[in-house]
């Protein structure tokens, strides 16, 4: 019964997770030689994975500011040992039970990634366990599939650093569309800074709460190009409007509030995301959508997606904050899937990288 520990720290969350994937599964036809454990997990045949521990500690920066790489890396270094100890205790496993150490290889912020990679290397040497470097995006996708049971969905991956429309084809997660400049979460985070909204628990969450009280939809640019999107111009426009708060009036004559701006921003950028998702679904002929990444927690986005999917006779799968927001368990899960197929990361190659595309990873555990 393979057990993996996963370390995630590509942004301001430090996550440690311990997962157990039950052993009986159907052997894969395509991959006959994976040492040392039995081969493959045929996507739906295997019993569900068990989450033994899933801990997270978030670095929260003061209102009006974002998290800087240096401070975030320091936060991760300060907390990683404590979190690993706590996770092991909570999971009730010993060092001997653990089969491999999984860590985020990228993409993400350089300094925080490095801090966590150093921690993973240390554990690997200390415990004499094999390392598995994991693509952060693949971690999100695999965890989303595991939790929701979605078989072959179009995946919308939306977070502070990533905005991608993804579909699986021939052992790759192929990117059909993406943000051409800043990520959706970055757009929301930076607008929260403009309004000096609290970053606790997350800037996007606080924008969502304000947006619920917004009543006027203001005109913002709408930037969809095929299956790609762009957010920087929208952010610049809404920033300008924020600078005019107090004197700005809606068409009805009412004074525009910060709540109206949050509402307008969300309605505009989420409509763009749903539009490109629908286009990708039509393109590949899929009926399922899976939303992953921190912005995927947003209930307004989930609702809009559900309305669109229902119109197409499809359905939406989303997870809650335990799995949507960056976490260690998804790294453990995706890493263990690869490990069971024989994938290893040597100590010399256990580097990390800020740029690591989703479609670079061979997904040989799927048919």
């Amino acid at each position: 019964m393979p057990i993996a520990i996963g370390l995630e720290g590509s942004a301001n969350k430090l996550g440690v997770g311990i997962i157990h994937q039950p052993t009986p599964f159907t052997p894969s036809v395509n991959n006959p030689t994976p040492p040392p454990s039995p081969p493959s997990k045929s996507s739906h045949a295997s019993p569900p994975a068990r989450i033994l521990a899933n801990l997270r500690h978030t670095y929260v920066s003061p209102p009006g500011s974002g998290f800087l790489p240096k401070d975030t890396a320091q936060h991760h270094r300060r907390w990683v040992v404590r979190l690993v100890k706590q996770a092991m205790k909570q999971a009730g496993v010993t060092v001997e039970d653990v089969d491999c150490i999984c860590f985020t290889k990228g993409p993400g912020m350089g300094a925080p990634l490095q801090s966590v990679a150093v921690a993973a290397r240390m554990l690997s040497l200390l415990w004499d366990k094999e390392l598995v470097g994991v693509n952060h995006c693949v971690g999100h996708i695999e965890m989303g599939r595991e939790i929701t049971g979605a078989q072959n969905p179009v995946v919308l991956y939306v977070s502070g650093g990533n905005t991608q429309i993804i579909a699986y084809s021939a052992q790759r997660y192929r990117i059909f569309g993406e943000a051409l400049d800043i990520a959706i979460g970055n757009c929301l985070d930076r607008f929260a800074r403009t309004l000096r909204i609290s970053n606790d628990p997350a800037p996007g969450y606080n924008i969502e709460q304000l947006a619920k009280r917004g009543r006027h939809l203001l005109d913002l640019p709408y930037a969809v190009k095929g299956m790609d999107v762009s957010f920087s111009g929208i952010l610049a426009s809404v920033d300008v409007l924020a600078g005019q708060l107090g004197s700005l009036r809606a068409d009805s004559g009412d004074v525009v509030t910060p709540e109206d701006l949050c509402f307008s921003l969300q309605e505009t950028v989420f409509a763009m995301l749903v539009e490109i998702t629908e286009r990708a679904m039509a393109h590949v002929g899929a009926a399922q959508v899976l939303i992953v990444g921190g912005v995927g927690c947003n209930e307004r986005l989930q609702h809009m997606m559900a309305v669109m999917a229902a119109e197409r006779g499809g359905s939406v799968f989303a997870t809650d904050e335990r799995f949507c927001i960056d976490n260690g368990i998804m790294i453990a899960h995706a890493g263990l899937l690869a490990w069971r197929m024989g994938f290893r990361t040597e100590l010399e190659g256990s580097t990390c990288t800020q740029r690591f595309r989703t479609d670079e990873v061979l997904i040989n555990w799927r048919d």
Binding site: N162, E178, L180, G226, T268, V274, R279, R355, R357, T358
Partner: protein, 288 residues
């Protein structure tokens, strides 16, 4: 919805009511994309009563999207219908081969276009090549093969010229695939009316010739005032479309570019820019 013999029977029945003055009895669903539904119908004519013709009009309906805010939905539908119609009207005026705009209503979200007879280049090329494969092993093989290649090259030159005429007036299509290029038979006003549209699967008559005019359709992603960069990307998209859907026709792409290069004054500059665009390949490396 439509009768069981119509192409629509392959598609799921649309849930969207047709905007007035159209109704489901007179419209046949041709294809359903993410954005719009395309019907064939009659507009300002009586041919709907005739059994020989399914109508003179391609009706493109953009139903409202209930997932987005009603104000935003109206704004986007209006902007997109108007943008597409304006591009088509301008192309028509400048002599670029595109369907004429017959009418539109941005409140209701529809635009009525002239129906283009013929088949898509996608289907035309596929069937032409399939037929060629079927002849392999027959006598005079080499001559016929050469003849077929010459026919394909000629088609590619005409495609290049058609795109060139579009780019000459600084318009880019935005989604140049072989499904968005129609092959209109030389005298389509007379003769047999063939079912058209990219999704029409009833191959009643096999394609034996690639003669005809190239007509560009579906300007939903088109833009005016295009720069050389945009035009080069337009060509790059078309190259990639040929590569993925017609790998056997890929070796004739140089003919397409040759036809393009001679078609207007700035074409050479765009072709040089295309080399840069190709070098870029995947456009960006992902940011963390």
């Amino acid at each position: 919805m439509p009768s069981s013999s119509s192409p629509c029977s392959q598609l799921t029945a649309p849930t969207h009511a047709l905007p007035a003055p159209f109704d489901s009895a007179s419209c046949t669903l041709i294809t359903q994309g993410a954005e719009a539904l395309l019907y064939r119908t009659s507009f300002l004519s009586h041919s709907s009563t005739s059994s020989s013709s399914a109508g003179n009009c391609a009706l493109k309906h953009r139903p409202s999207k209930p997932y987005r805010h009603a104000v935003l939905d109206k704004r986007l539908t209006r902007a997109r219908i108007l943008a597409e119609a304006r591009v088509l009207v301008r192309c028509r005026r400048e002599g670029v081969p595109v369907p004429a705009v017959l009418g539109l209503d941005w409140e209701e979200g529809w635009v009525a276009l002239e129906w283009v007879e013929g088949v898509t280049v996608r289907r035309g090329v596929d069937e032409f090549v399939d037929k060629g494969r079927g002849e392999e092993g027959e006598e005079g093989l080499e001559d016929r093969k050469k003849e077929r290649e010459a026919t394909l090259r000629d088609l590619m030159i005409r495609i290049g010229r058609a795109v060139g005429r579009l780019h000459a007036i600084d318009v880019v299509h935005g989604d140049l695939t072989t499904s968005n290029l129609m092959l209109r038979p030389p005298s389509s006003s007379s003769g047999v009316v063939r079912q058209s549209g990219s999704t029409s699967p009833d191959a009643s008559v096999p394609i034996t010739t690639l003669a005809g005019d190239i007509v560009l359709i579906d300007f939903g992603l088109a833009a005016q005032n295009a720069l050389d960069e945009d035009k080069a990307v337009d060509l790059y998209v078309l190259e990639r479309a040929f590569g993925s859907t017609h790998p056997y026709a890929e070796k004739f792409l140089d003919s397409m570019l040759a036809g393009y290069g001679d078609s207007y004054k700035g074409a050479r500059v765009v072709l040089r820019r295309l080399e840069d665009v190709r070098m870029r390949g995947r456009k960006k490396s992902m940011l963390g």
